[in-house]
């Protein structure tokens, strides 16, 4: 009994520094956002007062919130499947004995270690009307000049492409590691059975990669709600909120308009979305995933 008590004291003492920091900068802020979403933003003469669900009513009536939410869903739909499919293709290619394998792998992985803010500058230059590389290439084919980032129709696609480019190589390495861990005897057995390469991939490799796909998927979903650096550089949410994502809107409301209570309300929505992702992961996908 006393042994157990000492162990508990030791255990918590070891945990204390990390838990204190987490409590201060993760747990408490999450709870505080929730509490604050029921209060008004304090002004110079007027302290914050309880206003019930008013912030949420304001949010539901706010067209920019809905725009940011739908942009974010389209951004997620645009980045997640494409970057995962590309990552898998890259991994399968790099896993074979293709020419220049090391250099090719390096080329795919390089965007991962570059700062998003820096590559966003390069992409901005890439997309620049008249002057940029993309314009010069489309110009060769006689296409009309397009302001890729300045037009509501193309801006969200333009930033989605940047995100895919940044992520695919990062996800590739997880698939590569998983492919290399598949025992070669499985391939030999499948070949004896006369399975085609496609069948081997679809029926053996792909199912064995499911845990990796799940891991990559969760990362991709979180990233879809986290990546806003390139928006700060490339579009600032424009034109006319065409590229405003949820976290960027929180940043604008909290630090541009200093409406902290409304920003807290939006934060709660973001946290609820992330909690939903966690719930789907542990409650549903985990059970449907095959483990070796």
């Amino acid at each position: 009994m006393t042994n157990r008590a000492t162990a508990t004291i030791h255990g918590w003492l070891l945990l204390l520094p990390a838990m204190a920091c987490l409590a201060l900068f993760t747990h408490w802020p999450a709870v505080a956002s929730f509490i604050e979403s029921f209060y008004s933003t304090p002004k110079a003469r007027r302290p914050a007062r309880f206003i019930g669900l008013e912030n949420y009513q304001q949010m539901l009536a706010d067209p920019i919130f809905w725009k940011a939410l739908s942009n974010n869903l389209w951004f997620a739909l645009g980045t997640i499947p494409t970057s995962i499919a590309l990552a898998l293709l890259m991994a399968v290619w790099v896993n074979d004995r293709i020419a220049g394998r090391t250099l090719v792998r390096m080329a795919y992985f390089t965007p991962t270690i570059l700062p998003m803010i820096a590559v966003a500058n390069i992409w901005l230059f890439f997309y620049t009307p008249q002057y940029g590389l993309l314009e010069q290439i489309t110009g060769l084919f006689g296409a009309r000049s397009t302001n890729w980032l300045g037009s509501q129709d193309t801006a969200l696609y333009a930033i989605t492409i940047v995100a895919i480019w940044k992520e695919a190589g990062f996800f590739m390495i997880f698939y590569l590691a998983a492919l290399q861990a598949i025992p070669p005897s499985l391939g030999e057995a499948a070949a004896i059975e006369g399975a085609s390469r496609w069948t081997f991939f679809r029926r053996i490799q792909f199912p064995l990669l499911m845990p990796t796909t799940l891991f990559v998927l969760i990362n991709a979903v979180i990233n879809a709600f986290r990546m806003v650096d390139h928006i700060v550089v490339m579009t600032r949410g424009g034109p006319d909120n065409a590229t405003t994502l949820l976290l960027y809107y929180i940043y604008q409301v909290g630090f541009g308009f200093w409406d902290t209570a409304y920003a807290a309300t939006l934060t709660c929505v973001l946290l609820a979305l992330l909690a939903l992702v966690a719930f789907v992961q542990y409650g549903w996908l985990e059970r449907r995933t095959h483990y070796q």
Partner: protein, 287 residues
């Protein structure tokens, strides 16, 4: 990651599904075309940075090379100070992450005590609720203690890392219990056991985690942008943004030079230690 033991060295066995002949040529071509597409933005920046401004969008092989853009960028903004700030920042974060992470991971991996599982769940919560989502409240907290516009303010929300704790916990769990017991029999205290037995055995995990953490915080932008507003505390990423959005006319050659400069340390490190980088990111993801 620990690869499954292969019955024979992989090289001596032939993969029946490895493409040969035409299929291999087609696959190589596809892979190389995609690789070229992937390096195109970077290659474009390198071209612009090393040539005079009039060649920025004119691709002539005879264009003269120059370092002028780099000297102009270096002179136009206090990049030396930004480099120093970023260096201090990533070191500060890494040291704290490792110390706090090691202590917490040891408790979670090898101590059996009341409330351990609850603590573990509370820690893992940070994997979903990332500090980026809590910018408004964290700013308020740091403003209360007058830390805004300091390097510790950038570091504080990140020094306890659920990811690091989880990674180290998994590694510590693989350390044989007998080693632990043997050290204790010889009279070592729990902390001595941790430092003499566990930490040396987890060295590859520390290296992997260190590389991932340094790359992440070298590149981090939104939070440092919010909490800094002076040259003395700004890291490189924020400095680069201030530099390239300043209304000094858009000189792409100079902006590309500054962009390459800020990415250079990581890029050069990656080119030199490519295998180590790729394996570190793999190891960090698989655990």
């Amino acid at each position: 990651m620990s690869a499954a033991p292969h019955p024979a060295p992989a090289a001596t066995r032939t993969d029946p599904y490895a493409p040969k002949g035409l299929a291999l040529t087609l696959e190589s071509t596809g892979a190389i075309l995609l690789a070229l597409l992937w390096v195109l933005p970077l290659a474009y920046a390198v071209w612009a940075a090393f040539h005079p401004a009039e060649y920025t969008t004119r691709f002539v092989l005879t264009a003269p090379l120059t370092l002028d853009n780099f000297t102009r960028a270096w002179a136009a903004a206090p990049f030396a100070r930004y480099f120093l700030n970023t260096f201090i920042l990533v070191t500060l974060i890494l040291v704290f992450q490792i110390v706090l992470g090691t202590l917490a991971a040891y408790a979670l991996a090898r101590q059996d005590f009341w409330g351990r599982d609850v603590a573990f769940v509370l820690i893992l919560a940070q994997l979903m609720i990332m500090p980026d989502a809590l910018i408004v409240e964290n700013y308020r907290t740091l403003a209360k203690v007058n830390l805004i516009d300091t390097i510790p303010a950038i570091a504080l929300p990140y020094i306890a890392s659920a990811f690091g704790i989880f990674l180290l916990r998994q590694t510590f769990k693989t350390v044989p219990k007998e080693l632990d017991d043997a050290a204790r029999v010889e009279g070592a205290s729990p902390l001595q056991v941790l430092i003499r037995v566990y930490v040396p055995l987890a060295k590859p995990t520390y290296v992997a985690y260190g590389l991932v953490s340094v790359s992440y915080h070298w590149n981090n932008f939104l939070w440092p942008l919010l909490v800094t507003n002076s040259v003395e505390s700004r890291p490189l990423t924020v400095g680069l943004q201030v530099f390239s959005s300043a209304d000094q006319g858009i000189d792409w050659a100079v902006i590309c030079a500054a962009t390459l400069m800020t990415s250079a340390p990581l890029l050069v490190g990656f080119l030199l230690f490519q295998r180590q980088f790729v394996q570190s990111f793999m190891r960090a993801g698989i655990k």
